[in-house]
């Protein structure tokens, strides 16, 4: 009796624990969907010229999401460690996605941005030669898209994805495609940065360095310096502020405008022997956002294409015929043939289906006819109330 009681209590505990886990998983899924929206909006805000306040809030939201997913990863990793299944978690259960889409983002992307915002700074993100770093940071951000792979399971309800085999195959091929896309992007970004392959970033950097060099040469002659500043005001529209020995000699806009229109990363900063220069790099940031959105859209379309196009194709040509044949072999009164599409009739699976249709089912039909019996839809449980209970041995 007490045994029964404890079993029931432990089952109840398991039930409660199960519902808590299910709730937390739902929260994670919700967070994943939201972070994908946030990722898109962060770039869209740049392209649409949204207010800096909103953009900063989006950046902060990204930080909190990354913090949340870092904690989630650490908890999962801890439990995997305790359960001695770290290898399984990181590979089969796709823990590597949890890792890539959390800790690196927090450390190298949203973390520094949030720190800048929370401490009221900004210079750190505008340091000279930051363009390459900004590009890398943006590229790391694309790892967030990997989270798409975590939510594939919520697409199970979609037509044709009911078979676990189809789900596994579609999830695998989607993971491979998305990962290859993201890894290619990351690899190319690091590769082009390390080898200084010429691009928009190097052109910006070179131009900023040339401007600084030019002004530095003129510092000895105040007349020439003023003249040079006037020339630069007209020719270098991305030059925002020039300071010399702490004194502002030139500012293109008012301070209010800077605070309302420039988010961290929207400007760069160069310093040469008492000369300090601030450059507008919003056009470059816009270019990066355009690329990010492009990759985001590519990944979304790849995932949707696999789910909505490849998945039904896989079901039609693999899992559906297997399902029908399995039922025919398993169930006495299931005698439906496998539908063999003409264009796929030479596939191995449909060659097998033809044998099932043309050999097995006719034999089964004759055997059933000879036995003269069909499947009984009643079982002894129907009259269990009148039958004596079987004695336990």
């Amino acid at each position: 009796m007490s045994d029964n009681k404890s079993t029931v209590q432990s089952a109840k505990r398991r039930g409660n624990g199960g519902s808590v886990v299910a709730f937390l998983e739902s929260v994670v899924i919700g967070a994943i969907l939201l972070v994908l929206v946030q990722t898109f909006l962060e770039d869209y805000a740049v392209l649409s010229g949204w207010n800096v306040d909103i953009r900063n809030k989006l950046l902060l939201a990204g930080f909190f999401f990354d913090l949340f997913f870092t904690i989630e990863f650490l908890i999962r990793f801890y439990y995997a460690l305790m359960g001695r299944r770290v290898g399984r978690y990181l590979t089969l259960e796709r823990g590597w996605i949890d890792f890539l889409a959390s800790i690196p983002l927090l450390m190298f992307n949203s973390g520094p941005f949030a720190l800048t915002l929370l401490t009221g700074g900004g210079i750190a993100l505008g340091l000279g030669g930051i363009l390459n770093l900004l590009k890398v940071i943006k590229a790391i951000r694309i790892a967030r898209i990997l989270r798409f792979l975590r939510i594939i399971k919520i697409f199970r309800k979609i037509k044709n994805v009911s078979s676990p085999m189809a789900q596994r195959h579609v999830a695998s091929i989607t993971a491979i495609s998305v990962t290859v896309t993201v890894v290619c992007l990351l690899f190319f970004t690091f590769f082009s940065t390390t080898l200084r392959i010429n691009g928009l970033d190097t052109a910006f950097s070179d131009q900023q360095a040339a401007t600084a060099d030019y002004l530095e040469e003129k510092t000895n002659d105040p007349g020439d310096f003023i003249l040079a500043l006037e020339t630069l005001r007209q020719t270098r529209t991305n030059l925002l502020i020039v300071k010399y020995r702490g004194q502002t000699l030139f500012s293109r806009f008012s301070n209010d405008y800077y605070s309302q229109s420039f988010a961290p990363g929207d400007y760069s900063y160069l310093s040469r022997d008492g000369l300090e220069l601030f450059f507008d790099q919003r056009s470059y940031v816009s270019q990066l956002s355009r690329e990010s959105i492009l990759f985001f859209v590519i990944v979304v379309l790849v995932v949707l294409a696999y789910l909505l196009i490849y998945s039904p194709h896989f079901a039609l040509t693999v899992t559906d015929p297997i399902h029908v044949m399995r039922r025919g072999l398993e169930e006495t009164d299931y005698n439906l043939e496998v539908k063999v599409p003409e264009r796929y009739q030479r596939d191995d699976i449909f060659e097998l289906a033809k044998l099932y249709n043309e050999k097995y089912l006719p034999l089964k039909d004759r055997a059933q006819n000879e036995e003269g019996e069909s499947l009984i839809q009643l079982d002894l449980a129907e009259v269990s109330h009148i039958l004596p209970e079987e004695k336990e041995s």
Binding site: N160, A315, L316, T319, D320, P321, H323, V324, R327, D333, N335, L336, E337, V338, K339, N357, E358, L361, P362, D365, R366, N369, G372, E373, S374, I376, Q377, L378, L380, E382, V383, I386, L387, P388
Partner: protein, 309 residues
């Protein structure tokens, strides 16, 4: 009512109330319960032979009692359905068209109804009614004839040119339905096995056996056209044995078999062929075994494929 029979009826009613049987027609329910009793005999005997139920009776006696109760319960539902079918739904206006001398339609109906009641008395014939009744209820003949007459292929040719039926399509359908009802009457000439529910649903008979049965039936049912009787009885003969079998008889044999295997499907599995198409495809491969006309099966298969049945 005899208390023993009342207990049997209560037991049977309990089984009949099972929701798993809700979608089945009365004869199919009966078949299911008989099969259940036979399959689970060993588990049921100790309880059913106890003082609470049927004390002192052997399993065969118990089975007989349960069978009696079962057929009574089934008949309560089945007989009104069959009567409705014979008296109202099947039109016998075709009878005066298929033979020279006039037969009153009402008398033909009456003899068909009396014959059906006789069939219900014999377990083997009763069991053989499952396929025909299901086929009529689901109007297989009507559906396939309509398509067949649109295409004017083999079935149409056999009915109109070979069998020379000068009837409207609706009358041919009624004629096939009547043939279906007559088909189990071959069982009246076979020896019963004695055990309720056992016995093969349909067996092929030799043409000579059918001929003898036909002579006897003609004498018994003088208000049923001999052509109709011949169709009903010869539908039990293999087409391989006798190539002269009427087209209506061949169709009745096919639809009866389809009716026997018919199972309503709530939702078709993706990747599976439709039920009728599957059945005709499988049966085409077994046509010799069942004694069917392969060309009719081919045509029905084509119709089922094109119609998504």
């Amino acid at each position: 009512m005899d208390p023993t029979l009342a207990r049997a009826a209560a037991f049977i009613n309990h089984l009949l109330s099972n929701p798993a049987l809700n979608t089945l027609n009365p004869l199919k329910k009966e078949e299911q319960i008989l099969q259940f009793l036979r399959t689970n005999a060993q588990s049921l005997v100790p309880t059913l032979a106890s003082p609470q139920f049927f004390p002192g009776k052997s399993w065969n006696q118990i089975l007989q009692l349960l069978y009696t109760a079962l057929t009574r319960e089934t008949d309560k539902v089945l007989k009104p359905q069959l009567e409705e079918l014979i008296r109202k739904q099947i039109s016998f206006s075709f009878v005066s068209e298929i033979q020279p001398h006039r037969i009153p339609e009402d008398q033909c109906r009456q003899q068909m109804w009396e014959l059906t009641q006789r069939l219900l008395q014999k377990p083997e014939a009763r069991k053989s009614l499952l396929g025909p009744v299901t086929a009529i209820m689901n109007d297989f003949a009507g559906r396939y004839l309509e398509k067949s007459f649109e295409d004017r292929q083999y079935v149409h040719f056999e009915l109109t040119k070979v069998q020379r039926l000068r009837l409207e399509i609706e009358d041919i359908k009624h004629m096939i339905h009547a043939t279906l009802l007559l088909r189990p009457s071959i069982q009246l000439f076979s020896e019963g096995r004695g055990t309720p529910g056992e016995g093969v649903e349909s067996v092929l008979v030799q043409p000579q056996f059918a001929a003898t049965a036909l002579d006897s039936m003609k004498a018994q049912l003088q208000n049923v056209p001999p052509e109709l009787l011949r169709g009903g009885l010869y539908s039990n003969v293999s087409f391989e044995e006798d190539k002269q079998i009427d087209a209506t008889a061949r169709l009745a044999a096919i639809f009866s078999s389809r009716g026997k295997n018919y199972k309503p499907i709530a939702r078709l599995d993706r990747g599976a062929s439709t039920p009728d198409r599957s059945w005709f495809s499988i049966t085409r491969r077994n046509y010799k075994y069942y004694g069917f006309d392969i060309k009719m099966l081919d045509e029905c298969y084509k119709i089922a494929s094109e119609s998504g049945w």
